[in-house]
Subunit: 315 residues, 4 copies
Amino acid sequence: MSADTSAPVFRGVVPPVATPLLPSGDVDLASLRRLVDYLIDGGVDGLFALGSTGETAYFTDEVRVRIAETIVDAAAGRVPVIAGAIELTADRVIETSRRLIAAGVQAIVTTAPLYTINSQVEIAAHFRRIAAAIDVPLWAYDVPVRVHKKIALETLMDLASDGTIAGVKDSSGDDVGFRRLVAANEAAGHPLQLLTGHEVVVDAMGLAGADGVVPGLGNVEIEGYARLWAAVEAGDFATARAEQERINRLFEIVFQVSGLSGDATGVGAFKEAMAQRGIIDHATMAQTVEPIGADARAAIGRILAALGLQAETAA
Amino acid sequence: MSADTSAPVFRGVVPPVATPLLPSGDVDLASLRRLVDYLIDGGVDGLFALGSTGETAYFTDEVRVRIAETIVDAAAGRVPVIAGAIELTADRVIETSRRLIAAGVQAIVTTAPLYTINSQVEIAAHFRRIAAAIDVPLWAYDVPVRVHKKIALETLMDLASDGTIAGVKDSSGDDVGFRRLVAANEAAGHPLQLLTGHEVVVDAMGLAGADGVVPGLGNVEIEGYARLWAAVEAGDFATARAEQERINRLFEIVFQVSGLSGDATGVGAFKEAMAQRGIIDHATMAQTVEPIGADARAAIGRILAALGLQAETAA
Amino acid sequence: MSADTSAPVFRGVVPPVATPLLPSGDVDLASLRRLVDYLIDGGVDGLFALGSTGETAYFTDEVRVRIAETIVDAAAGRVPVIAGAIELTADRVIETSRRLIAAGVQAIVTTAPLYTINSQVEIAAHFRRIAAAIDVPLWAYDVPVRVHKKIALETLMDLASDGTIAGVKDSSGDDVGFRRLVAANEAAGHPLQLLTGHEVVVDAMGLAGADGVVPGLGNVEIEGYARLWAAVEAGDFATARAEQERINRLFEIVFQVSGLSGDATGVGAFKEAMAQRGIIDHATMAQTVEPIGADARAAIGRILAALGLQAETAA
Amino acid sequence: MSADTSAPVFRGVVPPVATPLLPSGDVDLASLRRLVDYLIDGGVDGLFALGSTGETAYFTDEVRVRIAETIVDAAAGRVPVIAGAIELTADRVIETSRRLIAAGVQAIVTTAPLYTINSQVEIAAHFRRIAAAIDVPLWAYDVPVRVHKKIALETLMDLASDGTIAGVKDSSGDDVGFRRLVAANEAAGHPLQLLTGHEVVVDAMGLAGADGVVPGLGNVEIEGYARLWAAVEAGDFATARAEQERINRLFEIVFQVSGLSGDATGVGAFKEAMAQRGIIDHATMAQTVEPIGADARAAIGRILAALGLQAETAA
C-alpha cells in the first residue's frame, strides 16, 4: 500500500451517513438517496458510509453492500465515499472490505480487533495485514467506547510511516491525546488526515489542527457544519464558535431520551429529527435497538422548532 | 424454541476445543482430529467448538465451518458438539449460526452484541431474535472481559423462562454473581445448564452448584478434569480440591509469558504445552497474535516435566 | 515489624462491625456495645472494626477513635480486634493508625493509596512505610471496587516475605486470583492469613483455602457464619453449602433497594435488618448516604420473616 | 453560603503550586517561596495550593497547613489563594478545610467523596454539607482519573443554582462534557467560574469558553501561559495556538519517563525540569513515589535546552 496521487482525499466535512430503514426493517433506499443528495447539496467534502451512526454493526454484509452501492450510486462521483468495514479481526475485515470495494467505495476504515485481547504490536499487525490485502486507502477508526481499547499514538504514527494507513477517524474522546497526535503527524510531514468524530467541539478541534470532522449530527442539519468548517479554514474562530454553539443547541436532542441505551438515544434521536425534518421517511432503528418514546419525540420537535429547523424541503 | 427431549445436553466436562494450525496458518486438520480423540478418550461429556480458546474470532466463516465439520466428524456422535457463533449482532450471528448448524453442530452459543452500546432489554431482544431463527438450542456466553458488558442475572433468567436459552457459559469472573445465578436457576426449576469457564476453581464452582466446566486447560491435560468433576459429582470435595490443586500447578504455564497480550499468553501457552506433549503438531497461533518466545517455551517445558506430563502418547 | 508469638491471630469468622448511629448522626454507643456482645456470643473469632461495613470512610478520626475504644472495651479481651485505618497515603494512614492503636486495637488493616496514581513498587513502599511506623501487625485490604487498583499477587507475597504484612482481607471479587494467592501463600509456608470479604461464597472460599471470612452480613445474623465456618473446618462441605445457601437467602435483603448508591443499598440494608431484629436501635446511615425507603424496609422485613429471623433477643 | 461581592475571583491563569521538598522529605520552604514569587512575577491571576500537582494527597494536615501558610505568606495578597482539601468524605474535608482557612487560604476546592460508593444525590449532599460548614467559597474539582467517578453536569449546575459552589476545576478529560457545562453555565447566567486542568489544550478550551486554566506545567514555565491566556482573552486564537504549540513541546518532558507510575512521570518530570531551571533546589518527590532515572533526567534537559529554557534566573 503506497500513497497514490490519484487517491481520494477525505478532509473537511465528511458526515457518517445514517441508514434510513423502512418499518419492515429493510433499508429505505429512496430515503437513503435523498439523504445523500441532502448532504452533498449541503456542501460536504466526502461521505463516510457504514459507520457507527450508520448502524453498520447491526447489518449483514449483504445489507451493507446494498447500502454502500446505493450511497456510491447516489453520490455519483460528486464526492468520494469511504466505508466502515467493522468486523472482529483482520481476515474477517478483509472479506467485508473486498465486498465494499466491489460495491464502489474508494477507501476503507476499520478499528482495532474486537472481542480479542491484543497488544499494540498485534493491533499494528492487524492493520498491516488488512492494508496488504486491499487496493484502496485504509483508515484507522479509534473509538474506545466501542472497541474498549485505544490505538496508541505510537502505533498510529508507526502505521503512518510505511503508508499502512492514510488517516484516522478519532472518536477517542481524548482531546489531549488528539493534540499530541496532531503534533506528531505534523512533525512527520502530515502523512495522515485526522478527522474528529466529536461534533460538538469542531471549532476547538479545528483550532487544534484537525483536518476535518465526521459529524453524526450532520445528518440532521449539514449546512451548519459546512459554515463552521469554512470559518475554521478561514481562521475565523469567532464565527466558528458562534456556529458551533448554535449547532450544540441542536445536539441537545440526544439528551431528551432517558432510560434507553447509547445507541437508542444517539442515532435514535438523529433519525427522529431527520424524519421530522423530512430528510428521511421513517425513524425506524436497526434490530434490536429500542425505539424512543413519544415524550422524547415531542421534545426533539420542540428543539427543532426553537431553531427554525422543523421542515427541511430536501431535494 | 421450546425444549426438546431429544435435545443434546451439555454438562460435566465440555472443553473448548483449541484450533491447531499449520505453520502456514491453515487449520491442521490431522492434529485437530487427534485432539478430538484425545479429549473424548479422556472422558469429556461434550465439546465446545469455536470458543475463545479455539481462537474463533480470528477466523473467517469459511474456516470456522471447516473446523466445525472436522470436530463433528471426528467426534462421530460419541459426545455432542456445541459451537460458538461469535459475531457483532443478531443478524450476523444468525448467518454464522446457520453455517455451523449445517456443518453439524448441535447447539449454538453466543455473546451479547459486540461493538454496539445496548441496554439489557436490547440484549434480551438480541438473544430472542437469534433463537427464533435457528432450530437448535441456544446458549448465552457471558464473558465481560471480551464483550465489555455483563449479561444481567435478570436478563438470563428472563431468557430462561421462555426457553430462549438452554444454558450459560459463565466466564464473568464474578463468583458472587454466579452464586446468585445458581440460586435463581434452582428456584426456577433448573431451566438452565450452568457451565463455568474458570478452570482453576472448578471444585469451588462445583460446590457452588455449577453443572459443569469448559476448561481451556483441558486441551493440555483432560484426564485431571474428568477425575475432578467425578469427585464433585460424588460430593467428595477433598478429592476434588486435591485434583484442582494439582491442575493449578499446570495452569502456571500461562504466567510464564511476559510482555505479550492476553490472547498470546493464554492460548499461546496452551498450544505450546499441547505441542510439547505431542497432542498437536505445531504451536502456531492465529494471525495476528504474537508467538511466545524461547524462554517461555522452556519454562512451560519445565512445568510439564515437573508434573510428569511431557509426552502424551495420544491415539 | 517481625512476627511475634504473642501477636493476635485473625482467622475464622471476623465480622466487620457495623457502626450504629443515633438519629442525630452521633455514634449510638449503647447499640454498638450490644452489637459487639451479639457477635461475640454468636461465636466470632475476632472483630474487624472500622471497615467499609463500619462506614469508616465517613467518620473523622475523633469519631473513629470513639468507635474503636467502644469496641475494644466491649470486647473486653474475649476476641482480638483489628481496625481499618482508611486514609489516602502512608503518612496519613500512620497518623490514623497510631490513634487507633492508642485506642486499644491489636492490628491495623489498610488499602493501597487512594486518589494517587501509583505503581506496584510504590504500593509496596506504602505498606513498608506504614509497617515500619507502627508496632502492631499490619494487614493489606484489597478492595478494587473502592480503591480502583488491585494489589498484585507478587506485591502481596513480597510484603509477606519480610513480615511487612501479616494477612490479607480480600474483597477483590476475583476468585481466580484469590486461588493463586492461596497457592503462593502455601508454597511460601503460609506467612499470611487470608480472609475473604465475600460473604455469599464462604463455603467455596473455604474449600479454596481461605483462612476465614469477614462477613458484613454477619451483623444481621452471625450464628449461621459460625456454623458455616465450623463445617468448613471439619471438611464437611455439604453442610457448609447448605448453611451458605440459607444465608444467601438472607443476603437478598441488599437487592430490595433500588435507585440508591452501593453504600446505601449494602450497609443500608444491613442496618435496616439489624434494627428490625433489635440488634441495634436505629438504621440511621452516616452522612451523606441516602436512607432506604419504606418499600425496601417492608421487603427486608418479609425476608427476615421468611427465615424466622424477625426478632433477635440480643443480650 | 451566598456569593459575596468581596469574594476572591479565580480566573485566568491559576497554576497548581508544586511542593518543593528537601532530600530529607521535609518541605523546602525557601524553594516554595521562590516558586511563588516566580509564578506571581510571571503574571498569574491566582494560586491553587495543595492540588494533585502539589502532591497534597501524600501529606499530613500538619504539613499541608505549613505549605498553605507559606504560599499565603509569600503571595502577600498579590493574588488570591485557593487550596485543595483532599479527603475521603464531607466531615473529614471540613476538618482539613478549616485548618487551611485558618492558614489563610481564601477558597477551598474538593472532589466527590473518595473510597465510598455514592450516587449523584449523595455527591451533591457532600458538597452542600461542606459548604454549610465553611465560610469561604467552595469549588468542585472533577478529576475522574483519581476519584473514579464523574460529577454529573446536572449535579454541578444544581450546586451552582443555590450558591453551594463558586467554580469548577475540570480535569475530567472530557472536552465534550466540558463544552456542555460551559453552555449550561452560560444559560444560567454564569454562576460558575470554569477552569480547565488540561494544560495542553488551553487555546481550544479558551475558545470553548473556559474562564481560565490550572496548568501544572506552569510550574516549569509560567510566562507562556500568561501570553497564551492574554491571546485567548483578546480573541487572537492564531497567537494562542502558536503559543500552545510551543508549550506542548515542553510538555513532552512527561513522556521521557518510562516504567514508572503516573504520579512519578507527571509531577516527577515537572519537578526535575523546575530543578534544572533553578526554580527549586531539589526534584525530590513525596514518599512513596519513585524517583525518575538518569536517562529521563537527561532527556528532560535536552527538551529544555531545545526550547532555550535551561536556566531560569528566578528572584
